[in-house]
């Protein structure tokens, strides 16, 4: 671990659960924090759209009711990704990642638009399926090495986690972080509310970055 994410600055222990801060995880944590604060303070934008076949344009408004729910989901998503990037326990990591998946669905699902809801549902199916490899990966790591602590796994005192388990973990994270790929289908961007939609991409990005570190050290 000393060479990958940098030496840990600080390890916070709650019994066998632990949270550690290396330069890498701290950077990710700060980024999650910054964007969560942005989601907290900024009002959603009003998307300008042209009516098809005419010269008319109009700006979409977001209702307060909808906004409240989506903002809550965006903040929950930010908190979940903060948890995912700093946690030192593999199973907690998978739980936080699963939480990111749920909240990502929540952020877009509040929009009353058939296309958006369809995209959210399909994404939700993928995210739900992805919990299988995610938990299975963590389970196999626990079975083969006898520990779930990333610090212990990185220290080299326990056997290395099998390649299969690491591949399962990656697969799970890819599935949970699918939202931006659905975004590429442009359906999700019919949903106004940039500060919240951006949280989808950010959280998936952060869990990708974190799992890259995790599979390298365990």
């Amino acid at each position: 671990m000393s060479s990958l994410g940098g030496a840990p600055w600080y390890i916070l222990e709650f019994g066998d659960e632990l949270v550690y801060f290396t330069p890498y995880t701290t950077t990710l944590l700060i980024l999650a924090l910054v964007f969560t604060v942005l989601a907290l303070v900024s009002r959603p934008e009003r998307q300008v759209e042209a009516l098809f076949g005419t010269d008319a344009i109009y700006a979409k408004d977001t209702t307060v009711d909808q906004m409240r729910f989506r903002r809550f989901m965006a903040i929950a998503c930010g908190c979940a990704s903060m948890g995912a990037v700093v946690t030192g326990d593999l199973f907690n990591f998978t739980l936080f990642v699963a939480l990111v998946g749920i909240t990502n669905v929540g952020i877009v699902a509040a929009v009353k638009n058939r296309h958006v809801q369809n995209a959210a549902f399909q994404y939700g199916l993928v995210a739900l399926t992805a919990t299988v490899p995610l938990f299975a990966g963590a389970g196999i790591v626990a079975a083969t090495t006898g520990t779930l602590s990333i610090v212990a796994l990185a220290s080299g005192t326990v056997p290395q986690a099998p390649f299969f388990a690491r591949a399962l973990l990656c697969l799970g994270v890819v599935g949970e972080g699918m939202a931006p790929f659905y975004a590429a289908k442009a359906e999700m961007f019919r949903a106004p509310g940039a500060p919240y939609v951006i949280m989808c991409s950010l959280s998936s990005l952060l869990i990708f970055l974190r799992v890259a570190e995790v599979v390298m050290v365990i």
Binding site: L99, A109, N118, G124, A127, T129, G139, I140, A143, L148
Partner: protein, 202 residues
């Protein structure tokens, strides 16, 4: 060796997973896919369960909760997506069940057995009894009251953990507190699930 037994179980679980995933690939109806995915989730918990230790039990619970949460969220989206959110639903509307004494007896047996077991498993079983009762009778209870009871018992559970950490000499008290807290909490939570048949007043 343990690893060999484990790997046999692992193969079985993986076979289940592969069968479920193939079914998922062949199925195009959204609702059926949702149901299939719930089936797929069970093997993943199976992998953890194969650890066969106390740790496994501790790990399965959050996994299960996350799975259920995602399933509930997706069903809600499905209802909205298909525009059937406002369709009227009213319990299991079967005359035989709603008039017979059997549901009451079965519920009472389940609840008593659950209380004897105590802890999470007991809560699950007692809750199942209440779910069954509500489903059979279509009863309307005070939703917020049940929610409050659930919250208070959860607080009891957490308080018991603090006793473990701060005053370990009172471990027996804390153990009982935690067991009863979780029993009540799970029971009430499951009862709430049993009552979730849409909101008749909306």
């Amino acid at each position: 060796m343990i690893w060999q037994e484990y790997s046999v179980g692992l193969l079985v679980v993986l076979a289940c997973g592969i069968v479920a995933f193939v079914a998922l690939l062949l199925e195009w109806d959204d609702l059926h896919r949702l149901l299939l995915i719930d089936l797929v989730e069970i093997p993943s918990l199976g992998v953890i369960a194969l650890l066969g230790t106390d740790l496994a039990e501790a790990l399965i619970l959050p996994g299960l909760v996350v799975g259920i949460a995602e399933l509930l969220a997706l069903s809600q989206i499905y209802l909205h997506k298909e525009g059937i959110a406002d369709r009227k639903v009213s319990g299991l509307n079967i005359e035989v069940i709603s008039k017979a004494d059997a549901p009451v007896i079965i519920s009472v047996i389940l609840i008593v057995y659950g209380i004897v077991l105590s802890g999470f498993t007991g809560g699950g079983i007692a809750g199942l009894g209440i779910v069954f009762f509500f489903m059979a009778r279509g009863a309307k209870e005070h939703f917020s009251l049940l929610e409050m009871a659930s919250g208070v018992s959860w607080a009891l559970w957490i308080a018991a953990f603090f006793v473990f950490m701060v005053l370990p000499q009172y471990w027996f008290l804390a153990l009982m507190g935690a067991a009863i807290g979780i029993l009540l909490k799970v029971t009430v939570k499951m009862a709430l699930v049993g009552m979730m048949w849409g909101r008749p007043d909306e």
